[in-house]
């Protein structure tokens, strides 16, 4: 068989130059996504494009604050993505809660629940800042330090413990079945 490790630099170059984004606006930062994708900033120059299907996506942009209800969806979407996958947290809110530091419904430290590769500070970060963050993540992919997906696999117990502490055990099943009685009702 072929030793695929030989091709690893080529693969890393391709991964770096072809980051597909999950189309999931998790917060107010979603408003800066269209400008990034259109003519003034045009991220497609770097081969990035939003993709509606998480199965095909590589980069998960957490655009802004994360509420527990969204975090459940984020975790599920993150786990749908095939490895290697990267997470870029956008704005101060996923870092420490930002302006919502005392809100009962905003996650304070996102990296307790899913691994974050690059975080951009600011509220709201300018498109240039986001592009800078993306450049950083490209560098990290090239030299192999963007290893959030590995960390998630290795420390899954810890992440799962934190998730279960926040949502309660069995939240996935509960979430999947929540609306069935209401849909059955006439």
């Amino acid at each position: 068989m072929v030793d695929w490790r030989l091709f690893e630099p080529l693969f890393n170059y391709a991964r770096k130059k072809s980051l597909w984004i999950v189309a999931f606006c998790t917060g107010c930062g979603g408003i800066e996504m269209p400008p990034l994708m259109t003519s003034r900033y045009d991220l497609e120059r770097f081969g990035m494009m939003p993709n509606p299907a998480p199965r095909m996506a590589d980069l998960f942009l957490i655009t802004g604050y994360v509420t527990p209800k969204t975090l459940k969806r984020i975790i599920i979407t993150y786990e749908l993505q095939p490895d290697p996958k990267y997470v870029l947290a956008h704005g101060s809110c996923p870092l420490n809660g930002g302006i919502y530091w005392d809100s009962y419904n905003a996650i304070k430290h996102l990296d307790r629940y899913i691994p974050v590769d690059v975080a951009i500070a600011g509220c709201m970060p300018r498109p240039e800042a986001v592009m800078d963050g993306i450049k950083k993540i490209m560098e990290m992919i090239e030299n192999g330090t963007a290893d959030g997906w590995k960390r998630y696999k290795e420390n899954y117990e810890w992440y799962k413990k934190n998730q279960d502490e926040l949502f309660g055990e069995g939240w996935r099943e509960k979430e999947a079945r929540r609306w069935i009685p209401w849909l059955k009702k006439k």
Binding site: P68, Y104, N105, H109, R178
Partner: protein, 172 residues
């Protein structure tokens, strides 16, 4: 006489149990006892207050009462009406009849008031349906004034106590 005064007079003739006054141009206010609210809103709807804008709950902790403000807007007169009523704020006593058959949109506002304040609207079958709050906060009614907001947040997210600072002296 200004149109606002005419409207207030017209409504008060039909509903003598209410108090009404003109707050300012295009704003009028009524105070209604809680048990007559359905009756009164029906009168308001007949008097061309077509739309309900929101139901605001104000938690007057000192008085031990909730103030429910039904905010109506009339496209005919271009007048905004506050219909205020007071109910006790204890969980078992904070009950109101629903007004969703008069203003259908009230169903949504009532769900909102129930989720955040614990006011139960009898007759609204969507009261128990999941609304904005997640499971963890169900039944805590976090917007009440006596809810330990900061303590709950710290416990939930395990954040450090360095946030305990004097919040009375903000400087912009």
């Amino acid at each position: 006489m200004a149109k606002e005064e005419v409207i207030v007079q017209k409504v008060l003739e039909k509903a003598p149990y209410a108090e009404g006054k003109v707050k300012r141009e295009r704003r009028i206010e009524f105070k209604v006892p809680a048990d007559r609210i359905r009756e009164f809103l029906m009168i308001m709807k007949e008097n061309n207050f077509e739309s309900m804008m929101q139901i605001t709950v104000v938690d007057w902790l000192k008085d031990g009462e909730f103030e429910l403000v039904y905010q109506l807007w009339s496209y005919t007169y271009a007048v905004h009406a506050f219909v205020k009523t007071r109910i006790p704020r204890d969980l078992d006593k904070a009950r109101m009849p629903t007004v969703k058959d008069i203003y259908p949109v009230a169903e949504t506002y009532e769900r909102d008031a129930h989720d955040f304040y614990g006011v139960y609207f009898e007759g609204n079958e969507k009261m128990e349906m999941p609304w904005i709050l997640d499971d963890a906060e169900q039944g805590l009614f976090p917007h009440r004034k006596d809810f330990d907001w900061l303590g709950y947040t710290k416990r939930k997210y395990k954040i450090l106590d360095r946030f305990d600072e004097d919040k009375d002296n903000y400087v912009i």
